[in-house]
């Protein structure tokens, strides 16, 4: 315990000394972060409050259905924490130089593991936790819950919930690293991805949200009854279910059921964490050795042949050619990059396949507008996530090797714009595929399709520009892990700014969309003037975002290296 406290103290000291440096850039970053975080928390709070108000008062779906949807959201939240911990802990538990350093010191392996786990847990879960906190306040405020509710929920529901997700992720990683030593890293990773996708598909197949909604609608407006049969037995064994149940029964005032579900959650969390420590005591050091062995045996003696070979003459002029080839190999030879990309691509394919089957078969203009906006926002959110993960770190991943480019006879603007172009092409293509797929259901509303496709180009450009610009301005050439770069303070700030931009998008699109669906419903010819005004403002706003982002990025590029 003494060792743990000693190391944690110095880590905390180092963290506070670096984050509280009185430099103009860091002060600006902190003030901007404060505003954006505050604004975002406020927005999340109001969004939650209004959504619950809508569900409860306008749609009149009742608190049972509200908590079933909450349970699904919590499942996604659980997976996010779980995946986040697997990915980040791979870096902190195995790849980190600090880990290597501590293994050469007389620090017990379990103590080192605990330090790294805490590091990992706080690093990968803080942003999600903050979002959850704002949502919790929105929820509590709507139902007029006392202050003890927040305290109890945070301590006895949220914390165990997050610990279960994190400890399961880290335990799985240790076991996987040990297995990888026997069956190879590729086979292990493929099994992991297949297993994970399987779990997600199985969950939504079991829960079947569409069936839940249609089942509930049969009983409309008495939607708070007859729901016993809608809970698939398997779902009752999941932490998201226990948490949603505890919240639901708390509203109903059934203390015994609240305590039962809370107790299950806490008990399972204790078991998961204990299991993780037990496995860590047995496996952490061994799996770290396996990792080193895997690293040593990985096939690295290959100067590439083929299309992207450096030796091959390119159609581009030499500087452009070598920069493209470098980006390509740097990306595809880094497992954490291509594996993450593969997972995201898979999710996009699943999403596109699902959305093709979707019908916005309602005639209610309000619901049509909301459904369309949800779909649109989801697409944009996906692009925001991809950009944050892959575009934001683009400049930082140059690392300290960037001296070669900085001291070479090449303009930095060229390097910057080439990175922009390399990010824009694949993301724009993915974005348009998503948009076409999501507009498939409303192909007959040509005005909407055209607007959607056109605005999405500007939206993608804005988001990519924002991420590259701020990613360059806040570039950290010393950090070698792209995942850590995309979850840094600057990245979080960029993410929240992207969300603010998303809110701006919703504000610009919602009124003309509602107007359009209303006119279509009443069979009145629709005047496109309102669309033009909104789209004009949207394009103007996007252009400002693009210009400001690039000017920040280019400025950051010219700083001393």
């Amino acid at each position: 315990m003494k060792t743990i406290l000693h190391i944690v103290w110095y880590k905390a000291l180092s963290f506070f000394k670096t984050t509280t440096q009185l430099k103009v850039a860091s002060i600006t970053k902190s003030i901007a972060s404060l505003f954006v975080f505050g604004g975002f928390a406020l927005a999340a709070y109001f969004f939650t409050y209004n959504t619950i108000q809508y569900i409860m008062e306008v749609a009149d779906l009742g608190s049972f259905l509200l908590h079933r949807f909450l349970s699904m959201l919590l499942y996604v939240f659980f997976l996010s924490i779980n995946i986040g911990n697997i990915i980040v802990s791979y870096a902190t538990l195995y790849r980190s130089k600090e880990t290597e350093f501590f293994f050469t010191k007389p620090v017990p392996h379990l103590s080192l593991f605990i330090i790294k786990f805490l590091d990992n847990f706080f690093y990968s879960s803080t942003t999600l936790f903050m979002i959850a906190l704002a949502v919790l306040f929105g929820y509590g405020e709507y139902f007029q819950l006392p202050w003890t509710f927040y305290l109890n929920t945070l301590l006895f529901l949220f914390l165990p919930f997050m610990l279960i997700a994190a400890s399961l992720g880290v335990t799985a990683l240790m076991v996987l690293m040990k297995i990888a030593g026997r069956i190879g890293i590729k086979a292990t990773l493929i099994s992991l991805v297949v297993g994970y996708v399987g779990v997600v598909i199985a969950y939504f197949k079991l829960i079947n949200p569409a069936k839940l909604v249609t089942g509930v609608m049969k009983h409309f407006p008495y939607t708070d009854q007859y729901f016993g049969y809608l809970d698939p037995p398997a779902s009752t064994f999941l932490p998201n279910h226990w948490m949603a149940e505890a919240l639901y029964w708390n509203l109903k005032g059934e203390t015994a059921r609240v305590i039962t579900n809370t107790a299950i959650l806490v008990l399972v969390a204790v078991c998961c964490v204990s299991l993780m420590f037990f496995i860590a005591r047995k496996l952490y050091y061994k799996s770290w050795l396996s990792f080193l062995e895997l690293k040593a045996h990985s096939e690295t003696n290959a100067t590439a042949n083929g299309f992207f070979s450096f030796a091959k003459k390119s159609m581009f002029e030499p500087q452009t050619a070598v920069l493209i080839k470098k980006e390509f190999w740097q990306f595809f030879r880094e497992p954490s990059q291509w594996i993450h990309l593969a997972i995201i691509m898979l999710l996009i394919i699943v999403f596109v396949a699902s959305i093709f089957q979707l019908t916005l078969g309602t005639n209610q203009p309000y619901l049509q507008t909301v459904s369309y906006l949800v779909m649109y926002v989801f697409n944009v959110f996906l692009i925001i996530s991809v950009a944050l993960r892959f575009v934001y770190p683009l400049m930082s991943t140059e690392g300290l090797s960037f001296w070669k480019i900085r001291s070479a006879p090449i303009t930095l603007n060229k390097v910057y714009w080439l990175k922009f172009l390399l990010a824009v092409i694949p993301i724009l293509v993915a974005n348009e595929i998503l948009m076409i797929a999501s507009h498939h259901a409303i192909a007959h509303h040509q005005m909407i399709v055209l607007t959607g496709l056109m605005t999405s180009v500007f939206v993608a450009l804005s988001i990519i520009s924002m991420n590259l610009g701020t990613g360059t301005f806040f570039a950290d050439y010393r950090e070698t892990n792209p995942i850590k770069i995309s979850s840094s303070q600057g990245a979080t700030l960029t993410f929240l700014m992207s969300i603010a931009y998303l809110v701006f998008l919703i504000a610009m699109l919602s009124f003309p969309l509602f107007g359009y669906f209303q006119m279509a419903y009443k069979h009145i010819p629709y005047s496109s003037a309102m669309f033009f005004v909104s789209i004009g403002v949207l394009l103007l706003g996007s252009t400002i975002v693009i210009l400001v982002s690039h000017s920040i990025g280019l400025k950051g590029m010219k700083r001393d290296f």
Binding site: P318, K326, G399, R406, S407
Partner: protein, 239 residues
Amino acid sequence: MIKLHQLTKTFGSFTAVNNLSLELKQGEFFGFLGPNGAGKTTTIKMMTGLFAPTSGQIIINGFDIQKNSFEAKLATGFIPDQPFLYEKLTGKEFLFFSAGLYKLNHGMTSERIEEVIDMLELGSWIDRRAEDYSQGMRQRVCIAAALLHRPKVMVVDEPMVGLDPRSAHVVKRIFKELSQQGVTIFMSTHSLPVAEELCDRIGIIKDGELIFNNTIEALHDYKQQFDGKFESVFLELTK
């Protein structure tokens, strides 16, 4: 060939390089010495475009590094103190990458790369990724990359760090040959024997100011005022 005119670099209230002026002729081999934190690397970083000077001017091969950075950098071969390479590229790919940055003719690139690989005895390791390299191997790849475009000026920061005796011997031989061929070399080093062995002129910087700048012959004379050792001169000057 290299001209530093009243060069100053400040970081907030700290002055790393203070009003440094220096002129090197073609083929001159300049040894830049000084204690840790004296301003050697800062000067080199300004000469190679990694830092912008707070004031003053740097002319390389007749071109101002600030105003005509393309031409100035084209004439320069830079070897940094820390040989950072792109970890996921092989040594050979890094050499191709460097050649491309200097716009080398593609037809001649492969030939030139093989030439520098032989020159620095890089062997079969050149086809392994940089993540597997030792410090010495990284250093030699950086040196090879700096020589590819046959620069007129070499700016070298601590070239011998991490090199085994054989590699150090090879590198010293290459530098001597380059100097004889008319390449101007600006080399920062902590190794007094290396500076004495290779350089035509020695400069010593302390607290950002150039406190000694003379030919190696003048240094030999100066040494006699002490115990005949360069180390004693250095310790006295930087005291």
